[in-house]
Amino acid sequence: MNVALAQSASQGTRVLSYAGALLETMDAALARHTNVFIMGQGVDDFKGIFGSTTGLAEKHGAKRVFDVPLMEEGMTGIAIGAALAGDYPITTHIRADFSFLAMNQILNLAAKYRYMFGGLMSCPMLIRIVVGRSWGQGAQHSQSPQATFAHFPGLTVVMPSSSQAILDMYPAIIARHPGPVISIEHRLLYNLDFTVSDTGKHVPLGSYVAREGTDVTVVATSVMVLEALRAAQYVHDKAGVSAEIIDLNSISHPDWDLVAASVRRTGRLVVADTSWLEYGVAAEVCRQLVVRDPRLLKQPPSLLGMAPAPCPTAKSLEDIYYPSQHETVDAILTQVTGAGHGIPLPVERSMTEGYKRFRGPF
């Protein structure tokens, strides 16, 4: 299925999968910048991080794209050292959960180096971490730690939700961003096709309006942006409800004024995030609004995220663990017309049933 940012493919556009966009940007970065290299477990194998690095070792050589042993902390420290020596390292974790082994290097070193040395040191680098979901990923292959990283000053944390976001952000990050960037890529996005445009800048290193609307503001991250867009279309078609979707996109440096301005107009808020609500993105959205003005919100917001538990493996539990399309639609309608909205909800329960039967590769 083609999940397009723009609703119809127009001139100067093409269709590109998320994995394809990653592969293109990785390839271009290697071609453009001699100091770029990519390292990670399996980056040079035939699966190539779900197709995002496939063939690059052959094309650019084993000095530019190479496999590493299992050594998350060590690898991240090596990346920092290479960055300090002038390289631009790109590292990968096929599950975000594995980046927890590198937390010390990420939080205590990479995030601190520029400030701690008064600007004398800097470690520009890109850490790509993939969030797992569906097909029984379970408690240790499913976490989405954007709030964890964004809590720490010094890190830039983004969650590209489309091929366009990759095409627009990654080259800018690699060419110009002064510090470490953590990009949280959602596994369910990889195989989706998006319509992209190669001209003009679309997705900033901040937040943007993914769909304009007037009745309710939906702040979403990563794959939940797609869920929100589908839900917005549904409520528009079934109930004439106009939902504005904001892709937060940058978690460390979002455009909070954009969010506040939208809520100022709509008075209603849904947050749809890929992680837990507690101490998560939903919490920070609420803080940003009330420090501006608690009256921006005309009523309690609806917040969608993972259930407050580790992720269960059984499909029947996973289906209720994550917010479904059903619940996303319900949240929007409840905001706009109250809990007794009476509008039939989509029958589909799980997002993965909706547009992709995800069955790996993992």
């Binding site: 477990q41 399996g42 194998d45 035939f46 699966k47 496999d67 590493v68 042993p69 299992l70 050594m71 998350e72 902390e73 060590g74 959960d97 594995f98 082994l101 097909w135 029984g136 990923q137 379970g138 408690a139 240790q140 292959h141 259930a307 407050p308 538990a309 580790p310 269960p312 493996t313 059984a314 499909k315 029947s316 539990l317 209720i320 663990y321 069955r359 790996g360 590769p361 993992f362």
Partner: protein, 308 residues
């Protein structure tokens, strides 16, 4: 003959593991098992030889690739299939799935999908045993790749310093996903362990259940006497890293690389015994699958239980 009885016992369990995994392969396209599966086909002899060489009350800490250890340690087959199916009668009510098999009542402690992460757990359990003056031992099972993680180093050092009864059991299939050991390791386990004053042994005949059992008995005796030990067993993963297919056509390895192993694999070589045992084992598996099919799926009432 004693040895023959032992051989038959081990063979039966190994065959059960293989048939269980072959059933998983057969069932997989039906999507009734919606979970990544890491098959141990080719590696069964390690699980059965090791578990038979341990005492029932010794504890084993394992990984995402532990169907074999679960069965060899004596875990219930019906609860296992129900777990793979994600049902309420599964071992963990469906919350665990294939990657996190456990059977505490027979000494299989939690299996983790984070590589190397249960290595220190076994050291900790061994520390407990030692503190209490118990003569139980703890075994950590891990792949060759796991030894690359820093925690392996920390665990060896602590185990050696504190002289705790832990057996480090490495299943060396030569692969971490698609990476061959030489591109990942500048060391050999034996010299590496020796640097910590830890004894070790590498067994090349990882297909030979009796040899694995014997090596385990010897290693366990040393460990029980208070010296940590590294036992490395060469083995062969016939299937792809995760999933139910083969992966020779991807070109990162050849089928020849496993053929030498297959030619010695008793489950293949001793076809007569396999054939004789099969019907009974298949019935056991049928019953377990039927149990799983009949078990209800968990839902809202289970979603938020057992969290803290």
């Amino acid at each position: 003959m004693k040895d023959e009885a032992t051989y038959r016992r081990l063979f039966r369990t190994a065959l059960l593991i293989r048939l269980v995994e072959e059933r998983i392969i057969a069932l997989y396209p039906s999507d009734r098992i919606q979970s990544p599966v890491h098959l141990s086909i080719g590696q069964e002899a390690v699980a059965v030889g090791v578990c038979d060489g341990l005492r029932p009350d010794d504890l084993v800490f394992a990984t995402y690739r532990s169907h074999g250890f679960y069965i060899a340690k004596g875990g219930r087959l019906d609860a296992m299939f129900a777990e793979l199916y994600g049902r309420t009668d599964g071992i963990s009510g469906g919350k665990a799935g294939s990657m996190h098999l456990t059977a505490p009542q027979v000494g299989l402690m939690g299996s983790s999908a984070v590589v190397a992460s249960t290595i220190p757990h076994a050291v900790g359990a061994a520390l407990s045993f030692k503190r209490r003056g118990s003569d139980r031992i703890a075994v950590t099972v891990f792949g060759d790749g796991a030894t690359e993680e820093g925690v392996y180093h920390e665990s060896l050092n602590f185990a050696a310093l504190m002289e705790v009864p832990v057996l480090f059991l490495c299943e060396d299939n030569g692969l971490a996903v698609h990476s061959h050991r030489p591109v990942r390791q500048a060391y050999r386990l034996a010299e590496h362990a020796a640097a910590f004053g830890i004894g070790s042994r590498r067994l090349e005949e990882g297909w030979d259940m009796l040899a694995v059992r014997e090596a385990t008995l010897q290693a366990a005796a040393k460990v029980r006497a208070g010296a940590p030990f590294v036992l490395e067993i060469a083995t062969s993963r016939y299937k792809e890293h995760v999933g139910v297919g083969e992966d020779f056509h991807f070109g990162y390895r050849t089928s020849a690389s496993v053929d030498a192993f297959k030619r010695r694999d008793p489950l293949i070589v001793d076809a007569a015994l396999a054939k004789a045992l099969e019907p009974e084992l298949e019935r056991e598996i049928d019953a377990a699958v039927a149990f799983a099919e009949a078990s209800p799926a968990p839902g809202r009432p289970e979603l938020l239980t057992d969290i803290i």
